[in-house]
Symmetry: C2
Subunit: 418 residues, 2 copies
C-alpha cells in the first residue's frame, strides 16, 4: 500500500508552524508496513488543493490529509473535499451532539460557527472527534482510501490512534514481505567517528540498510531489514544490533524512541535512587525534561536554578571565596553545587551544571561553550569539562544531554570519557 | 518568483525527525516576497529524488533542497545533483581547507570520508560551510536557481542567512506588487470566541486576508495584504491591527514572532524588575524558557523546582500545616510558594505554579488539569485557578503560558480574567 501525506495550511508552508502532523502520521503508517512515498504541504488555496488532491489520489492507494477543517473562514479543506468527490454537505446528528457536549462540559455557549462543524460530506464516513469540534472524514472510492483530519495535533493523534490505524490494519491483512526497523540512539560521539568505528558497513549490514541521523542530541542509527517473515527480519536486526553494540555499545543510550531523560528516569526508578539537580546555565532544562515523565516524582526530589551567584551561595552552600577565586563557571563550583544540592535534599545523587552558553559572557580563558558538569553520590564525585559551540540554545540542549548521559553512565557503571 | 522547498531524507518521511528546515526556509523566502507554492519530502531513493528534482525544477523559478549531503553512505543527494545536471564532481581546495580547519580546531583527525566532502559538482557555485564539513551548492540554469544545503539545521540556517538570502535579494530587485504580513499572537481565549468577538471579518479586513492559527499556546492571527507599494500595504495592515486591538487587545501578547517569554523578559528589563520562580508541576519549564533568552540573568534571579513537599517547606517557607490541610495543589500553597521564593530571593516579583498535570495524581475535588498560579510583588499577591485538559505535556505548556501571561498582565497593569 502506497501512501501520500498531505498537509494543508499557509502557516505550515510559510514556516509559522512546524509540520508535526506529517511526522506523526508517517511514523504510524510505516509501523503498519505502509509505504510512505512522499509528503507535501500546500496553502489554503482551492485550486492548488484540488490539484494536489488529484495528484495524490491518482498515484497512491492511501491519501492522508490534515488541516483546514476548523470553524473559521480560512478553513476550506471540507469544501474542497466536497468538490473533489462531487458530493454535498449533510448535517450529522452525532457530531452535533459531540459539539454541544464539548461546549457544555466547559461551561461555554455553542455558537453558529461551531454548529456548522457538524456538516459532513455525504459520501464520507464520519470520524468522531472527542477532543474538538471538527469531525474527521473517511472516504473509500476506486479501491482507494482518502482520509481527512483536523490540523490540531492532539485531535489528529486521537483520531489516528482510535479509528484510522485500527481500520487500516484491518484492511491490510497479512503482507507478503515484512519490513522491520530498529533505532539505536547514540550520544557523545561525532557522526564520522561513529562511521569509522563501525568499520565495513556492507559487511556489518549484510543486505540490510542503515542511516545515520545526527542532531545536537547525538547520532541515531536506523537499521532497516526486509524479509519474508517477522522472525527472519527480527533475527537479522538482532544480529546487526549485537555487532553495533560490540563496536560502539557504550555510546548507545537507547534502542527505539526512548529519550535519554526516559532512560535516566527508568534507571533511577529501577534502582530506587533519588536525584536533585542544581542548574546554572541549563536554566531548568534538565529538571523540565525529567519532570516531563509521568511518575518522575518518585525519583526527582527537587531542582534549583541558581542563576545568580547569591543563589549558589544561599541555596547550594557554595563557598563565596571559591566563586571569587575560580569564577562561577569552574570545576570547583560545579562540584560544590552538586554536593550542595545533594546535601540539602537528602537524595542519593546530586547533579550540577555551570557554564557559558553565549552569545555573551566569555572571559579570558573561558570561551563561549565551556561547561562543567558534576555528579556526586554518597561515596564519590566527578566533574567533567565540555567545550560546545557558539549557539546559546544548541549549547543548552547539548549540555543537558551531556549531563543526562553522564548520569546514565554513572548509574550503569560505564566509564566516563575524558 | 515561485519556489518549491524539497527536503530529502527517510528520517523526515517516516517521522523520526521534524521538518524544521522547510519551516525555516519558508519563513525566510516569504520575507523576500518569494511565493512558496509547495514543499515536499522524499526519501533517500535515487529514482524518486531525480523525479522530484524534475517536477520541482520544471514548475518553479527556485528550488531549495536540504538533506543528504553528509559523509556517510546513505547521503545520495550530491550524486543525484550530478546526474540531474549531467555534470561531474571536482575537488574544491577552499572546501578542503575548511574541512581540515574544522577538525584541527576540535583537535580531531581528518578522515578520508571527511575529505571527500570537498568534492563538488563542476557546474555549481560552492557555498562554504563554517559550521560543518558539507558545502552547499548553488546552480543557475535556464534562468532558474537550484540550491542544495546540508540537512543539519544550524548549518543550513547559517548558509541561508549569510549567502542564499542576500544573493536572492539581489536577484529579485523591486517587485511590481508587494505582499506584507503581520502576526498578532493571542493567548487565553479560544479560537471560536476570538472569531466571534472580531465581528464581521470581511468588513474588518477590507480585502486583506486573515488566518486563525490555534495551538496550546494560544491563537495566532495572521493578516496578509497585497498592494502596489510597501507604504500602501503597511497602512492597510496598521489599520486592521488597530481594529483588532480595539476588539481583543488585552489577549494580544505580541506582534510578530516574539515569544511570550521574550515579551515578559523585555518588560522586566525595561522596568528594571527582578523575578524568582517557584515551580511544582511545570517542573522548571518556566525557568527554562526565561533563560533561553540571552541577557536573562539581568532579571531572572533564581528558580526552585519544588517537586517534593519537603522542598516546598524547606526551600520556600511553605507552612507544613497548610499542605496538610489544603494539599500541595491549592490556592494557599500557591500563594505561599510565590511569597516564599520572592522573600528568599529578594526580588521584585515572585511567581509560582502548582497543579496536577496527569495522567495520574487526581484526588477527589482535584481533577487532572487543575493548576494554581500565583504572583506577588511588594504590595499584593494574586492567585488564579485554571482547568486545563488531560495531556501531561500539553498541560505543562499551557500552565507555563498561562503563568507567563499572568505575569505580562500584572506588569502592564492589565486586568486578569477570572
Amino acid at each position: 500500500m502506497n501512501a501520500h501525506i498531505l498537509t494543508i495550511g499557509d502557516e505550515i508552508l510559510i514556516g509559522q508552524t512546524l509540520n508535526t502532523n506529517a511526522a506523526y502520521i508517517g511514523s504510524k503508517l510505516i509501523e503498519l508496513n505502509i509505504n510512505v512515498c512522499k509528503t507535501s504541504v500546500v496553502g489554503d488555496n482551492e485550486k492548488v488543493i484540488l490539484n494536489e488532491f488529484k495528484a495524490c489520489f491518482d498515484k497512491n492507494d492511501l491519501v492522508v490529509v490534515t488541516g483546514g477543517l476548523g470553524p473559521t473562514h480560512d478553513d476550506i479543506t471540507r469544501s474542497c473535499v466536497v468538490k473533489f468527490f462531487n458530493t454535498e454537505l449533510v448535517m450529522n446528528d452525532d457530531v452535533l451532539k459531540d459539539v454541544n457536549q464539548i461546549f457544555s462540559k466547559r461551561g461555554r455557549i455553542v455558537t453558529k460557527v461551531n454548529e456548522e462543524q457538524a456538516l459532513v460530506p455525504k459520501i464520507a464516513n464520519v470520524i468522531r472527534n472527542s477532543l474538538g469540534t471538527a469531525p474527521g472524514i473517511w472516504i473509500e472510492k476506486d479501491q482507494k482510501i482518502f482520509v481527512v483530519m483536523p490540523g490540531v495535533p492532539f485531535e489528529m493523534k486521537e483520531m489516528m490512534d482510535s479509528y484510522i490505524l485500527p481500520k487500516l490494519n484491518e484492511k491490510i491483512g497479512v503482507p507478503e514481505f515484512v519490513t522491520g526497523r530498529i533505532n539505536l540512539q547514540t550520544t557523545g560521539i561525532p557522526e564520522s567517528y561513529l562511521y569509522e568505528r563501525l568499520g565495513d558497513i556492507n559487511e556489518l549490514l549484510n543486505g540490510a540498510q542503515m542511516a545515520f541521523l545526527p542532531s545536537q542530541y547525538g547520532v541515531k542509527l536506523r537499521v532497516t531489514a526486509t524479509d519474508k517473515s517477522s522472525d527472519l527480519v527480527n533475527n537479522k536486526l538482532s544480529e546487526i544490533e549485537q555487532k553495533i553494540r560490540n563496536k560502539v555499545g557504550r555510546f548507545v543510550f537507547a534502542k527505539g524512541e526512548e529519550t535519554l531523560e526516559e532512560v535516566v528516569g527508568r534507571l533511577l526508578k529501577e534502582r530506587e535512587l533519588t536525584l536533585a539537580v542544581a542548574e546554572s546555565c541549563t536554566g531548568g532544562n534538565i529538571a523540565n525534561l525529567l519532570t516531563n515523565i509521568s511518575g518522575s516524582s518518585d525519583y526527582f526530589e527537587r531542582g534549583v536554578v541558581s542563576y545568580s551567584n547569591a543563589s549558589k551561595v544561599e541555596m547550594l552552600q557554595v563557598n563565596e571565596d571559591t566563586i571569587m577565586e575560580h569564577g562561577a563557571v569552574s570545576r570547583s563550583v560545579a562540584e560544590q553545587m552538586a554536593k550542595g544540592i545533594k546535601s540539602i535534599s537528602g537524595t542519593d545523587l546530586g547533579l550540577s551544571v555551570t557554564g557559558i552558553l553565549g552569545p555573551t559572557g566569555a572571559t579570558p580563558g573561558k570561551p563561549i561553550g565551556v561547561v562543567y558538569i558534576a555528579i556526586c553520590d554518597n561515596i564519590t564525585s566527578i566533574v567533567k569539562k565540555f567545550l560546545f559551540g557558539e549557539d546559546r540554545i544548541l549549547n543548552k540542549q547539548r549540555a543537558t544531554q551531556a549531563a543526562l548521559d553522564m548520569l546514565r553512565k554513572h548509574i550503569l557503571g560505564i566509564q566516563q570519557d575524558e
